[in-house]
């Protein structure tokens, strides 16, 4: 059976490679891999050919809700941006903090951390506050590729930050460990690593602008734009998120897409100039199309990989690695799995890994925290590279994707080492869990 599955895996890799060589987009290359795997599997009746369409269609569903979040959040931010709110905020931030660089950087870091921490999605951080923060970073004299790097790493940390960490939640749900004890176990490393990242990448001023020039270089704020007009839509959004958290049994479950829609509607209401909503929505969808399609094809790939046994074989291979190699291998395995499967990676590799770690005396909660700090790095890796691509998009960086990714290597390495040490020494770090209870 191993041989058969191995052949299917090769077939899928080959289909991906051929599609890429033929200059097809990443999304279509993943689709090609999924279809090739499905057709190959049909030879062995795993799954039978008659079930292939159903598997392909069913595989389009795992990330349906994430697609709704992306669409509504991007549309909301497009509205805020179009109404001049973004420019207003950045101008204010530069006025206040231009001369105290470290404080400015830390404030911007916290601004990126909050939306991701609350929703568990780094993409929300980028979509909601990415554009204005990018502008502010640029005004501080940080070049675009470093700006993109800061956004990407900090947004990833935001996703890992408490209270909501989706990797940890998937792992807890799958291993029947309660999702408690993560506040400091995740919070402390996230803050330390975030501070390190913004200071490492942002402390050096590379542009020659002084404060006046920086302000002059920023786009003008449209007449009539006031602080409250920017603030109100965000108050609506965070109000709904926080209301749900504070009075969970009195508030209905809104869900992020509705929260973003409500915020978008408010932004339109309070905007001093009324943007063309239809045009804006159409453009938003066009811009998002590759990302949305990625979610679709990754789900299909995942479905085919499981139905054919490829996913199981990979999971088996990871669990069978000798322990020391496994610890070192986490540095590659975890981010790459995220790059290929996004959150699916937590279920496929994470659940058996945690069971295994637990059985050899590691502390499961700390080990989950450690892994879930490493996973977000994979959101910068192809084929999906969800947060990496969003970071490049909002920071307006025009260079190649790889030149952006190279900028992140030092924080990347530090995060990797931290998270592996957290797993290895999880038993010694269990006091963090106790503090958090």
């Amino acid at each position: 059976m191993t041989l058969q599955i191995g052949v299917l895996l090769l077939l899928m890799v080959a289909a991906y490679a051929v599609a890429s060589l033929k200059k097809l987009s990443v999304e279509l290359s993943i689709l090609a891999a999924a279809v090739a795997g499905g057709l190959g599997g049909a030879f062995l009746k795993t799954p039978p050919l008659g079930e292939l369409p159903r598997h392909l269609v069913e595989g389009m569903f795992p990330y349906l809700d994430v697609m709704l979040v992306f669409s509504t959040a991007t549309f909301f931010m497009a509205l805020v941006s179009e109404s001049g709110g973004v420019n207003y905020v950045v101008r204010g931030a530069i006025k206040l903090f231009y001369n105290v660089r470290v404080v400015a950087l830390l404030v911007l870091m916290i601004i990126i951390l909050i939306p991701g921490a609350l929703t568990g999605a780094g993409s929300v951080s980028i979509l909601v506050v990415g554009a204005p923060v990018a502008l502010a970073l640029k005004a501080l004299g940080i070049p675009e590729r470093k700006t993109a790097a800061i956004l990407f790493i900090v947004a990833g940390l935001a996703a890992a930050a408490p209270p909501v960490n989706i990797w940890a939640m998937i792992l807890c749900a799958g291993t029947a460990i309660p999702y408690v004890g993560f506040t400091y176990t995740l919070g402390i490393p996230v803050l330390i690593l975030g501070t390190f990242t913004v200071l490492w990448l942002g402390l050096k001023k590379e542009g020659g602008m002084d404060k006046a020039a920086a302000l002059a270089a920023l786009p003008p704020v449209p007449p009539g734009m006031k602080g409250w007009r920017v603030l109100v839509p965000f108050v609506v959004f965070f109000g709904m998120v926080i209301a749900n958290r504070t009075w969970p049994f009195a508030t209905p479950i809104f869900g992020l897409p509705l929260e973003f829609s409500a915020a978008a509607f408010t932004a339109w209401l309070v905007s001093p100039r009324k943007p063309d909503v239809l045009k804006l929505a159409l453009n938003t969808m066009k811009r998002l199309l590759p990302l949305l399609a990625t979610m679709i094809v990754v789900g299909m790939l995942q479905q085919i990989m499981t139905a054919t046994g490829v996913r199981g074989m990979i999971s088996y291979a990871v669990i069978s690695i000798p322990l020391v190699l496994l610890f070192i291998g986490l540095a590659v395995i975890i981010p790459v799995s995220e790059g290929v499967l996004t959150y699916g990676a937590a279920a496929i590799l994470g659940i058996p890994l945690i069971w295994f770690f637990d059985s050899i005396g590691l502390h499961a909660t700390v080990a989950i925290a450690g892994l879930s700090i490493l996973w977000p790095l994979g959101d910068g890796l192809p084929p999906t590279a969800l947060i990496g691509r969003l970071s490049v998009m909002v920071s307006d960086y025009k260079g190649t994707y790889w030149s952006f990714l190279r900028q992140t290597w030092v924080p990347w390495l530090v995060i990797t080492i931290t998270s592996i040490l957290m797993v290895v020494y999880s038993a010694k770090l269990s006091f963090l869990v106790k503090w958090s209870m």
């Binding site: 279509l28 389009m60 509705l258 969808m285």
Partner: protein, 51 residues
């Protein structure tokens, strides 16, 4: 079906319309046509309450 769920069907329907409109306007890229259609499939099946 409660009010909030109805909102979700409306959001989904809006996305299908936007994707469809973009698809109709698309003249150049076969890639974008395929991606647009792919994204529409699960949204349509959700609207039809199949899955």
């Amino acid at each position: 079906m409660n009010v909030i769920m109805i909102f979700y069907y409306l959001i989904t329907a809006a996305l299908v319309c936007l994707l469809g409109w973009n698809l109709i306007r698309e003249k150049k890229s076969a890639n974008d046509m395929i991606l647009g259609l792919l994204v529409m499939i699960p949204l349509v099946l959700r609207l039809l309450r199949v899955k």
